[in-house]
């Protein structure tokens, strides 16, 4: 019980930082009640006084909550926001959509949650970006938000060596970068040849920076639409997007040995 209070306090903290209203919180509460037990929110009225808590105070409280409980709660909460975002988009309320997205992205990267924006958020945003009814301004806003709030891969964070003889690749970060890059190029709306040239150039730069062995990076026309793909050989994987979908399939880890040199 005590822990759930703390989570809700943190949640309110998120609400303050982002654009989430108390009504939204109440709705989360309702959803939560349905799914779990009403006892969790028995002393909900007490939360009001915690709204005035500073981020540092919230952070201090949050350290006492187990990671498991945090993940459980935030997992449900992020799902809730995503549903709301889809509804907003379906209703044509792009301002609310963008507001929710901003909240979500800020919330996802809060150091006290330890949870980063999910891949699904990028996938959703990509779909909205490509939807025919999305205007140029909406697209630009989406892109700006993503560029501002999404974490990107760097030479420091892309590879992780946990010390067990393995190296792990943070492909979620790479996915963010690929998604943003594709959206940028789509927004520029250049010729296919020019888009392909810039894409190759950008991928070449990323590959150098992250020491990725790239086999090919291509933009081509398929069924009247631009299709982007990036084939990597080390780590092995592919990033792909067309007008309707964006996905990747990449190797997550391997023994940390030097790649074989040419004979």
């Amino acid at each position: 019980m005590k822990n759930y209070f703390k989570i809700i306090i943190v949640l309110l903290g998120c609400g303050r930082l982002g654009a989430l209203s108390l009504q939204d919180i109440a709705q989360v509460e309702n959803e939560w009640k349905k799914a779990q037990s009403s006892a969790i929110f028995a002393n909900f009225d007490l939360l009001e006084k915690f709204q005035k808590a500073t981020p540092n105070e919230l952070r201090a409280i949050n350290t006492e909550i187990s990671t498991y409980e945090q993940r459980k709660f935030y997992g449900q909460f992020s799902q809730y926001i995503r549903i709301k975002m889809r509804e907003s988009y379906a209703n044509g309320d792009f301002q609310e959509y963008l507001s929710l997205m901003k909240t979500y992205l800020r919330f996802s990267y809060m150091p006290l949650t330890g949870i980063r924006a999910e891949k699904n958020m990028v996938i959703d945003a990509f779909k909205v970006f490509n939807a025919p009814k999305s205007t140029g301004i909406i697209r630009q806003n989406i892109l700006d938000l993503l560029k501002k709030h999404l974490a990107m891969p760097t030479a420091e964070n892309y590879r992780e060596y946990p010390g067990n003889g393995m190296v792990f690749f943070d492909n979620r970060l790479l996915f963010n970068r690929f998604g943003v890059m594709a959206m940028e190029l789509l927004l520029q709306n250049k010729s296919i040849e020019e888009t392909d040239r810039i894409f190759k150039q950008q991928i070449g730069k990323i590959s150098d920076e992250l020491q990725i062995k790239t086999l090919n990076a291509v933009v081509e026309m398929r069924d009247g639409n631009k299709v982007f793909y990036w084939v990597m050989l080390s780590p092995v994987g592919v990033f792909f997007c067309d007008q309707t979908t964006i996905w990747d399939k990449c190797e997550s880890g391997r023994p940390a040995i030097k790649p074989a040199k040419p004979e």
């Binding site: 086999l215 084939v231 399939k249 190797e251 074989a260 004979e263």
Partner: protein, 426 residues
């Protein structure tokens, strides 16, 4: 013949040396008596290990004798003892001094507990010459001479002046046109049989070593028999040990670029792991590097490709998808990407061996991938063969299941979705 004489474990013979045999023996000997067919096999195929190995085998033999519970076990033990030096086992089992060996047989002074054992031995003893002649009539000359030499060496230990042996050898030499190798083997056996010995003189069993390149071609049926004849636990333990050993050898021979040994070890490895269907991609990736190495001659490349084509299981419409129920009434489809990777590798090697122009290679590659996609109901986005850093590189992008197969001259890899709810990919 005993099943283990022709099974896939023969393959080890090519690369095993004395120390390694003993190492394996010690590992196996400490494990369980069920391993003894393999110990039998190791001795049988490795004369260099025999001299020292007999001591180890005595203990195993004794243990078996004490643990024997049924007739089938007796039969196996007889075959085992027969090949690796029956007298030592008998001495251990009965605590008899060496010079009384033949007395046991001739006077019937055998402990009742071991009577079946001896009965089996003597039956085998009578049957062998007829089996040898029968095989010669069938044209299985190598097999016949192998048996005769094994049996001849063993029987000389029991009956140092066994009269039928020289007679039988002479008969065979006269009646059948033998190969040079078989003639040589029989001459050596005859020389041993004609050497007078004193009663009780210790005689070592000598087992000839035949070039085993031909016996590596184990049939599927033989492998199946082996698989069925062992308990899963024993089978897996043995296969694991053998395959780890071979894996080490593969790495070593790859490093030293010893083509012949490398290929032998590789083929052995695949023959053995085919018994439990546990294939590691490391070996295949290693083979790909070997294939692309400038030091590998074309003949070895062809041989490697043939081995892979013969030994590697590949994806077919029957084995590529497997279905399970996730408990919620949804069907989950699992993709055998390893099998698809095998097929991809073989295809690439074939194309590289063809050594056509880049455009032609790309055309054929696309064609082949399209054929595979159709057969396996894979939704392919693209398949490309291109020149990268002056060498050919290939990739194949799949949309359903989603994933990638890719390679250049130095690396081959894949990453493909393992499973999905039926009809859903991403």
């Amino acid at each position: 013949m005993h099943i283990f004489e022709k099974n896939t474990l023969y393959t080890l013979n090519i690369i095993i040396d004395k120390d390694e045999s003993l190492h394996i023996l010690s590992k196996l000997g400490q494990a369980q008596y069920n391993y003894y067919p393999y110990i039998h096999w190791i001795f049988r195929n490795n004369p260099t290990a025999l001299q020292q190995g007999v001591d180890g085998s005595v203990k195993i033999g004794k243990y078996q004798l004490e643990e024997m519970k049924d007739r089938a076990y007796y039969d196996e033990c007889v075959k085992f003892a027969y090949d690796i030096g029956i007298l030592d086992i008998l001495r251990e089992a009965t605590h008899a001094p060496k010079h009384t060996y033949s007395g046991f047989f001739l006077n019937g002074g055998i402990h009742p507990r071991y009577s079946n054992f001896f009965n089996n031995f003597t039956s085998l003893h009578r049957v062998i010459p007829y089996q040898v002649l029968s095989l010669l009539e069938e044209g299985s000359q190598d097999e016949a001479i192998d048996i005769l030499v094994y049996w001849g060496n063993a029987i000389m230990m029991v009956y140092p002046q066994y009269p039928r042996l020289p007679e039988l050898i002479e008969h065979i030499r006269t009646k059948y046109r033998l190969t040079d190798e078989n003639t040589l083997m029989l001459n050596e056996l005859l020389a041993r049989a004609s050497t007078p010995r004193h009663k009780g003189e210790s005689v070592r069993l000598v087992i000839p070593r035949r070039d085993s390149m031909q016996v590596r071609n184990t049939t599927f049926r033989e492998l199946q028999i082996l698989r069925n004849s062992l308990s899963p636990e024993i089978k897996n333990r043995f296969i694991t040990e053998c395959s780890e050993y071979l894996l080490e050898r593969i790495r070593q021979y790859r490093k030293s670029n010893d083509c012949e040994k490398y290929l032998a070890a590789l083929e052995s490895y695949y023959a053995i792991v085919s018994l439990n269907h546990v294939y590691t991609n490391e070996v295949l990736k290693n083979a790909f590097l070997f294939f692309n190495s400038p030091q590998t001659p074309t003949a070895s490349r062809v041989q490697l490709l043939n081995i892979l084509k013969q030994r590697l299981p590949v994806a077919t419409s029957a084995n590529f998808r497997k279905y399970t129920d996730n408990g919620d009434g949804n069907r989950v489809v699992h993709f055998s990407n390893k099998l698809l990777f095998n097929r991809f590798c073989i295809l690439i090697m074939e194309l590289l061996l063809d050594d056509k122009s880049s455009e032609e290679t790309d055309r054929i590659f696309k064609q082949q991938i399209s054929k595979i996609s159709e057969e396996l109901k894979i939704e392919t986005f693209d398949a490309v063969a291109k020149i990268q850093d002056k060498t050919k590189a290939f990739y194949w992008i799949l949309k359903n299941p989603i994933g990638i197969f890719a390679c250049d001259q130095t690396e081959i890899a894949y990453e493909v979705q393992n499973s999905a709810f039926e009809g859903v990919t991403h």
